[in-house]
Symmetry: C2
Subunit: 448 residues, 2 copies
Amino acid sequence: MTFEELTQALNEAMDQEDTLAIERLVAEMQPPDLAEFVRHESPEVSLKLLTHLPLEERAEAFGYLELEKQCELALKMTEEGLSQLFVHMNSDERADLFNELPEERQEGILRRMAQDEREDIRRLASYEEGTAGAVMTSDYVTVPAGVTVGRALDIVRQTAPNAETIYQIYILDQAQQLLGTLSLRQLILAKPEAVVDGLMTTDLVSINVHEEQEEASRLISRYDLLALPVVDDQQRLVGIVTYDDAMDVAEEEATEDIHKSASVGPLDEGFGKARITSLYRRRVNWLVLLVFANILSGAGIAFYEETIEAYVVLVFFLPLLVASGGNAGSQASTLMIRGLATGDVGARDWGKLLSRELVVSASLGLTMAATIAGIGFWRGGMDIAQVVAYSMFAIVVVGSLIGMSLPFMLNKLGWDPATASAPLVTSIADIVGVLIYFAIATSILDLG
Amino acid sequence: MTFEELTQALNEAMDQEDTLAIERLVAEMQPPDLAEFVRHESPEVSLKLLTHLPLEERAEAFGYLELEKQCELALKMTEEGLSQLFVHMNSDERADLFNELPEERQEGILRRMAQDEREDIRRLASYEEGTAGAVMTSDYVTVPAGVTVGRALDIVRQTAPNAETIYQIYILDQAQQLLGTLSLRQLILAKPEAVVDGLMTTDLVSINVHEEQEEASRLISRYDLLALPVVDDQQRLVGIVTYDDAMDVAEEEATEDIHKSASVGPLDEGFGKARITSLYRRRVNWLVLLVFANILSGAGIAFYEETIEAYVVLVFFLPLLVASGGNAGSQASTLMIRGLATGDVGARDWGKLLSRELVVSASLGLTMAATIAGIGFWRGGMDIAQVVAYSMFAIVVVGSLIGMSLPFMLNKLGWDPATASAPLVTSIADIVGVLIYFAIATSILDLG
């Protein structure tokens, strides 16, 4: 059955309170699908559905829920039930949940945990949000240097039930420092009596625990890793980031960049679930700031009040000209911001990109000027046609150059280039557009 | 050594023509890093550097190059050399390259290939770009139903050198139909004499070969898969899509969506490498189309020419008001488009989201109206203050509602919601903004 069919069948079974059918359907669903279903249910119903699963799978499905929902459910569970769930959750997910719980709940859980689990939760929960440490898991397989392949495989078999991945094995020295890595593929192809040290890869890609999670995601994507080892300042292995977490991080980052492109601040929760107050807060700052930027456009217009009074027809072309500059500018800035984010272009490419943008924007400007000249002639004769055509060309070129330069300059200053959002670039291009337009109009129409 | 240090050392070695050092450094570099280095070199130098690697690793590094660069190098290689490379490349990558080569080159390569390789290339190269078939690989491990775990492990060991992943094993019936899957983890934990049929997972997530590659990427991300099996219309297994390809697809898709948000069409090549003509083509259409949309704004202004002549001060507030509507609208559309793309919101959420947006935008509108009322009073007295405050409120609310509704409506019509780009939403909000502003002005200032 597809997800839609399962959902429908489960809804029907729930309406009919057919417990047997509910149990069967819940067991048949993939954990992410069950999580998706549970998202839309009340905490009570959600808990009831999850209880139909054995503990192991319950913990897995639970881990697919959004953190907010997890927290909501956790608060309705008994301390005993929550502790059992904690034992079976992935170490990275439970540390995230732990951080969201109120203090007395945290203490209750820690009391019920074995010593090593307790330390693991405390340690993973201590890393700052957004760092590699905060997304890493501590469930991985390590073997000491010097063991044979056969012994390593035994260790893999023993650790497998608790490891998030057993496909990369990490070889440590006595000080827990990371010496090398072996894939399970290499291991099962090797002779059982061979020593791991002779087989392991020592050209390691790893990350420091305090670096940003985006960097972890980038490294995993760049080197096509299954898992990235995370080390502390003494090069001791403290965790791994797995490819599936890297995919989630990459998606989150793309969402954040896309939101920034429209001057929306980062939302903590998904857009679907976001509260009115948090949506308001993430949107209002830039909107108000941009009002002040746009006052400058107004001031520019006010400065040319006499020109406007003499030729009211100029106002007809105003929105069109300034919008074109803004549009060309946000195209240029968006291309640049994404290029910088994916590493497709870098600071060193500045000169080359600027000259290319000059040619591209001049071509665009000429096309746009040709488009608009006829309308100018029709509305206001030859003079107006000239004014709007020249203005269009200049505005598109200048708008594009501003659009492509701003992210670059922000990057140079160590700011996030994505701050050069479409609304910001559009506002700046608007101001410049107004000034260019009326300056050209004043000079051609001889109003100076 | 870090990538930067290796790059610098390699550059120095190349300047000094120190072949030994070059060989050592090339061998030390990770294949993606070597590819990154080679990107900026001439074809001749690139080929020379790659030749320092053994065939296997050369094929791997080659696969990390952009398709355009691969093609450029392939055309400079001998038929013999290229054929050898083809044998060692991943099946999905070589099919992509094959499709880019001129016909006589294609024939030359096929002639030099063994029968089964030839068929594999032909088959993979035949799927339409953008489908699951076009990104899948045919290098995976299958075992027939009914074999024991011990036998399955033997098959894994035999196939391992040519398989892209051995961590998922697919169990097929005699008609090559996919019955189930086993992970290598399950396999090495099971008793050697157990039969795979009793262990395998039959709740399979799979995709049809003709479905879109985005869907493959979404499934891999949603179910945290290492590899997604691809089946034909008869449910026969024809390939797998691996997680690393899914990450690349997800990045490409995010880039495309981000570009669309600024009305830039999809670029075939990366932004850094894009040609002037293709950048021009991807940008000009929407720019020109939007000019015509903006003419409507101009027409709106022209319609109220008398109002403007009576109160030129109104023009001062024009850019600010229409820009605010556009900004609020593009915030709303961007949030909605990304929400739809990640599956965070769906068509069924429409009513709930609309009422939430109404509250959010009304709050934003009130804040903005309060911000602007004072300036209105200062520039034009009480009447103007009222006009701009009322207008601001109405424009922000209407702009936001347009912004959030447009992607939804496009989605309903089966269009890509991302077509509701910031420039498009801004242009529509501009037109509406002009009309609202002057309608309110005309009525309050009693000019009707």
